[in-house]
Symmetry: C2
Subunit: 478 residues, 2 copies
Amino acid sequence: MAKDKKVEQITDMDVDFAQWFTDVVTKAELIDYSGVKGFFILRPYAYAIWENIQSILDTRFKELGHENVSMPVLIPESLLQKEKDHVEGFAPEVAWVTHGGAEELAERLCVRPTSETLFCDHWSHVLRSWRDLPMLYNQWCSVLRWEKTTRPFLRGREFHWQEGHTLHATPEEAEAETQQMLNVYADFCENSLAMPVIKGQKTEKEKFAGAVDTYTVECMMHDKKALQGGTSHYFGDGFARAFGIQFADKENKLAYPHQTSWGMSTRIIGGLIMTHGDNSGLVLPPRIAPIQVMVIPVAMHKEGVLDKAAELVSRLKAAGIRVKSDVSDQSPGWKFAEYEMKGVPLRLEIGPKDIENGQCVAVRRDSGEKITVALAELETRIPALLGDVHRGLYEKAKKNLIDNTRPAKTLEEARTIVAEKGGFVKTMWCGDLACELKMKEDAGVSSRCMPFEQEHVADTCVCCGKPAKKMVIWGVAY
Amino acid sequence: MAKDKKVEQITDMDVDFAQWFTDVVTKAELIDYSGVKGFFILRPYAYAIWENIQSILDTRFKELGHENVSMPVLIPESLLQKEKDHVEGFAPEVAWVTHGGAEELAERLCVRPTSETLFCDHWSHVLRSWRDLPMLYNQWCSVLRWEKTTRPFLRGREFHWQEGHTLHATPEEAEAETQQMLNVYADFCENSLAMPVIKGQKTEKEKFAGAVDTYTVECMMHDKKALQGGTSHYFGDGFARAFGIQFADKENKLAYPHQTSWGMSTRIIGGLIMTHGDNSGLVLPPRIAPIQVMVIPVAMHKEGVLDKAAELVSRLKAAGIRVKSDVSDQSPGWKFAEYEMKGVPLRLEIGPKDIENGQCVAVRRDSGEKITVALAELETRIPALLGDVHRGLYEKAKKNLIDNTRPAKTLEEARTIVAEKGGFVKTMWCGDLACELKMKEDAGVSSRCMPFEQEHVADTCVCCGKPAKKMVIWGVAY
């Protein structure tokens, strides 16, 4: 019984990008649909990507002094309601546990949509003195949000993420933490996922429920839409006051600490699929690819081929490469298509002729380029080629971002760009909500962020003509 | 504001073991209580222990070919009901989600108490051919069971665990997997946690809901009660039939696969606290201790002391030891008590006299023994001492297990042992449920397991006098 599903074509990404995405996540064996809408099964290949993401981020968080903890999965309704803006933002989209065993609960409990309230409740128990600060916590978990429309990775009723939560003695320290963690996300997107980002601040309208300031890294997908890569929030002492979190400062006076939170989720996997994928399937950046190199023996029943393939695997493994070989009885052609679909960054072909010539053939997943590699140079050439694939992916995505981010001075100009070319529009903005809403209504775009790298596009707001305060990047967002 | 809570005495473990346990988990900063009964917060120190446990087990699972996946946190009621024995075992103790956002759900969803039904549903979608077998999956997650009485680590309404789930072409392969994973747990308990185990099979009464056979590793706590360390289940093809999971075998005929599951949870942290702890607090086995060595500078304001302490830390770190130093302004005595409470396996004291003599003083947490270590030999002596602590803990726990496991030939004898001495009783058993229930009723003990290492205690059943089939270990269990 051949796995014939593999040879089926996937939808052309430039014809129907949404269907292409669905085809890729199922045919690359990332996702299965569970019996409950919006709850997706992360199959081994998807979970291995997430584990690589976790490993890099977790190491970085710990280098910066953060510790992992585990908060409960359920939040009492009364606790969720303690911070006014926060509950307004989240209550409409949470799932409620009303019964435990045979009994109806006295108070209903929501499955956590985010854990600010739990961290605050805990801190109100344990924080005593300035000596205890800062408290630098992180949690890896899944959260629930009862979304109406759902898509694998991009919008699930359950998704995995990390949520960092920190407490500091002063606003300055908390602000610095917020910026530091945003930079961790930016570096991670660019250096590990080959996804270029725009760093900036969210508008009042787009910020997190309960935050003073929200910062974001925004990415552009292949279809020129925006995806938020990670966000970092500064809360001031609002939650601390709502939850009665206080500490004795060095003068032994009671003070409220200042707080941050920051998160990145499995959404970023959807982002990297839509940034790098092509019409042959997934294309994975080497630094998070579960398999970086797939060795395919050609004419594998000829003497010495399987032995040589095994030797390549063990040499590359010893060099720290995540490598496998496929010695199943499928044809080489089937295998090529399979690992292209799965986005393995490099394929190594080795056959009798190659062995005779002391070489193998490396095929780059990103460009299709074939490179002859002398076997003697395997341990230096393969890591270098993986670096080339990373840079190739990054440059291509960067070009997409730059080529499709256009300045506009008037609403009319913005509307035309969005309608005819898509992508991001950068305009000046007066800071008023009315103009932000008008951009959505008339041009169909929302504010993605006010980039840290500001440019002077014009003197006046794109909508109302009043003096401009900030340059804003606008786009259609996932 | 001094952290004066540290100097408070904890309850004497031989006076009130339950209160001692509660004191230790709070004062060692492992646990905080959340606002919902039975939901415990794992503070950084507890979570770091769990991460070390995860890291060792996860590496071993992967070496044996297992892959991690993520299944949904919610299970539809109809899915939970597909396997009759399974639903009877779990339905009474699950939490139910009945509302998503503002809407009442058409079908209520339970928060997973375990994920067999989800894995089976997934496999029924994706299994096609013998080529796909075995499927060797594992999941790290938390699960919910709506228990009436709850205690940190030992019985929570939410707890963390790993659940392995595997599918095999033949019963023999599935049985071999069940045994293999039980051995992984036994090795882990003994070699990483210094907890000696008894390996054996559960009786019909005590086995997992829906399993054909359940195997267990049983441990003895300081108070001579039993704690189940980990379990491994063989399911036959019962779930496969209930969920319609089939594959085309090599002759292209449809067949049902055979299934296993196996799990270890954060309960084991409760187990290691109750195995090794003493009246000064926690005692952590070195291989999972978040901090293996704590360097305490003595007279630290004298010239050169802080520099030398920092040098010791960096040398030990380079040698692969998890080491910290405490250079806060607390007194050395306060620090000694603090890291005794936290169970750090080795304390290193370094002061001006030590520096003069080119040495430091190592203090073993398990025995209190003080050992002078020449600074020149730091990198060899410290790992050796950590090994000694591990062996010391293991031997002490092993002695407790052996000394407190007693044979009994009659029910009267068993009852007297349990009442007067506590610990485990080993007796012969005819295999009848009635006799198992009588042991519970008359002697107050439940069957822990039928050990793989059988002994001939007598010819006849301890209860009914009929011919014996198996030797059973009985005890009072957590």
